[in-house]
């Protein structure tokens, strides 16, 4: 029966914005993912081959930026994961001060647009301490996404049944030991899908750092366009590359989740 099946579904926690990871059930040959991904790659290849000027020149000019985009994204997500874990734990802490600080951080950061935060860290705080562009960018992204990650970790930890903590504590483990060995490892599995979505969202949002003097993909495109006046051509290429990147990583993460998420609990 449908109800019985629904009961056996693994626990799913709420995801903030639209899911970027393709669903497993979405397996047809002409899925939106295939059409979009191979369409984007084919379009880039076609344009580069048939109209090497300016398309091939653009394609040769921007790869440095892809690397920077990737670096900013990876550095930011790793830092955001650490911030998020501690924020999530802080939001669950009984200590009022710790809980208050974590909650305030989440509320404040979620209430300010990322672009404003980037400006704030680079220009406003830059008046006090001069932080290099790349670091400003990574810090701003990590601080922002850390708040969202914190909520994901909090929900993930709360989704673990209370009996797990009780069993661990009744064996003489401290609260910290139980968290580290029992609760957090189980929560990690629950939070993988929403974290995958955050990664994709962060990859896209990383284009905001082109505002600073960080030569990411969008920035490199802008440099090329403003010198050659080929705005239409350049931004078409940039958009197609972002699309291909996003789709590629969402597929990759989907595969990773499938492998990591192999449910050891399933008989």
């Amino acid at each position: 029966m449908a109800m019985g099946d629904a009961k056996r579904q693994p626990q799913v926690i709420e995801v903030g914005d639209g899911a970027a990871i393709p669903l497993k059930s979405d397996v047809g040959l002409f899925t939106a993912w295939r059409v979009a991904f191979f369409g984007a790659v084919a379009a880039l290849a076609y344009l580069g081959l048939t109209q090497p000027d300016p398309y091939l020149r653009i394609l040769l000019f921007v790869p440095d930026g892809i690397l920077v985009t990737f670096e900013v994204t990876m550095a930011s997500i790793l830092l955001a994961l650490v911030i998020g874990l501690f924020t999530g734990l802080g939001r669950l802490a009984k200590n009022r001060l710790v809980n208050g600080i974590a909650s305030l951080y989440v509320e404040v950061i979620r209430g300010i647009p990322l672009l404003v935060q980037i400006f704030y860290i680079y220009y406003a705080l830059g008046r006090i301490v001069r932080i290099p562009d790349l670091y400003s960018a990574v810090i701003a992204m990590a601080v922002c996404y850390g708040a969202y990650m914190g909520e994901i970790f909090r929900a993930g930890i709360q989704s673990i049944p209370r009996g797990q903590m009780e069993a661990a504590r009744s064996l003489g483990m401290t609260h910290a030991q139980a968290m580290r060995h029992i609760i957090i490892p189980q929560a990690f599995k629950v939070v993988l899908p929403p974290i995958g979505n955050e990664f994709i969202a962060l990859l896209k949002d990383s284009s905001l750092v082109s505002i600073l003097a960080v030569s990411d993909l969008l920035r490199r495109g802008r440099e090329f366009a403003s010198e050659s006046f080929t705005y239409f051509e350049t931004y078409t290429v940039v958009a197609l590359i972002y699309l291909a990147l996003t789709l590629f990583f969402s597929k990759l993460i989907g595969h990773m989740e499938e492998r990591l998420g192999v449910d050891k609990r399933a008989a």
Partner: protein, 240 residues
């Protein structure tokens, strides 16, 4: 071993335990029965501090466990607990379930912990499941693993909170057999259960609780054949 002195526990305005006093001597097997909501699980959980009491004193092995400054984790190392819902760690193998607390709480060497764990798995009758994950076991097997996990710590006292209530009928026997074997070895046990056969056979003393108080207690022969209280008679007539 356990000495409860007039303990009370409130959930909001609801009085779950009302000045309950009782004690458990070393080697004694005490079975606690009573209707649901009578406070028997709360009583059991207050013995290892999973439930904080609001009034009274709970002494375990001479230690006032709810006193400020008591290291509750030290007490819990000596008090094993088995839950209705097993609460095995699903992300760890059966063997890891048994060795984790030995290693990080008791600070035993891994090899010692593994050896002890394997011995206990043999004792509860499932040595071949050491490498399995809990979900690959039947309910009865999971509960036997949970008992072994508690025993691995080398407790002086074992608490059982309705250990067979979540099991299919055909699996109840295998768990009760393990508990009986443990009783024969002289373990001090406090068992909350609805298994009256087990109470008759194993208990030194049966405690009957209702509405947060102990209504009656005594050896099983007297308790089952000749209960003093009307409430006890009514309860026994309903479940036997």
């Amino acid at each position: 071993m356990v000495e409860a002195q007039a303990i009370s526990k409130f959930f909001g305005a609801f009085r779950a335990l009302d000045r309950v006093s009782f004690d458990v001597h070393e080697g004694e097997k005490v079975v606690v029965i009573g209707p649901s909501g009578s406070g028997k699980s709360t009583l059991l959980r207050s013995i290892n501090g999973l439930e904080r009491i609001d009034r009274g004193r709970m002494l375990v092995d001479g230690v006032d466990i709810h006193a400020p400054g008591t290291d509750i984790n030290k007490v819990r190392e000596e008090v094993g607990m088995v839950f209705q819902s097993f609460n095995l760690f699903p992300h760890k193998t059966v063997l890891e379930n048994l060795t984790l607390a030995q290693i990080i709480v008791r600070r035993r060497a891994r090899a010692d912990a593994v050896e002890r764990a394997k011995g206990l798995l043999a004792k509860v009758g499932i040595p071949e499941k050491a490498g399995a994950y809990p979900s690959q076991l039947s309910g009865g097997q999971q509960q036997r693993v949970a008992i072994a996990r508690s025993l691995a710590m080398g407790p002086k006292l074992m608490l059982f909170d309705e250990p067979t209530s979540a099991l299919d009928p055909e699996m109840i026997g295998e768990v009760l057999e393990v508990m009986k074997a443990l009783a024969r070895e002289g373990m001090t046990m406090v068992v909350v259960t609805h298994e009256m056969g087990f109470a008759r056979e194993v208990a030194d003393r049966v405690i009957f609780m209702d509405a947060g108080v102990i209504l009656e207690e005594g050896p099983p022969s007297q308790f089952f054949n000749n209960p003093a209280q009307e409430r006890t008679k009514l309860f026994l007539s309903q479940i036997l």
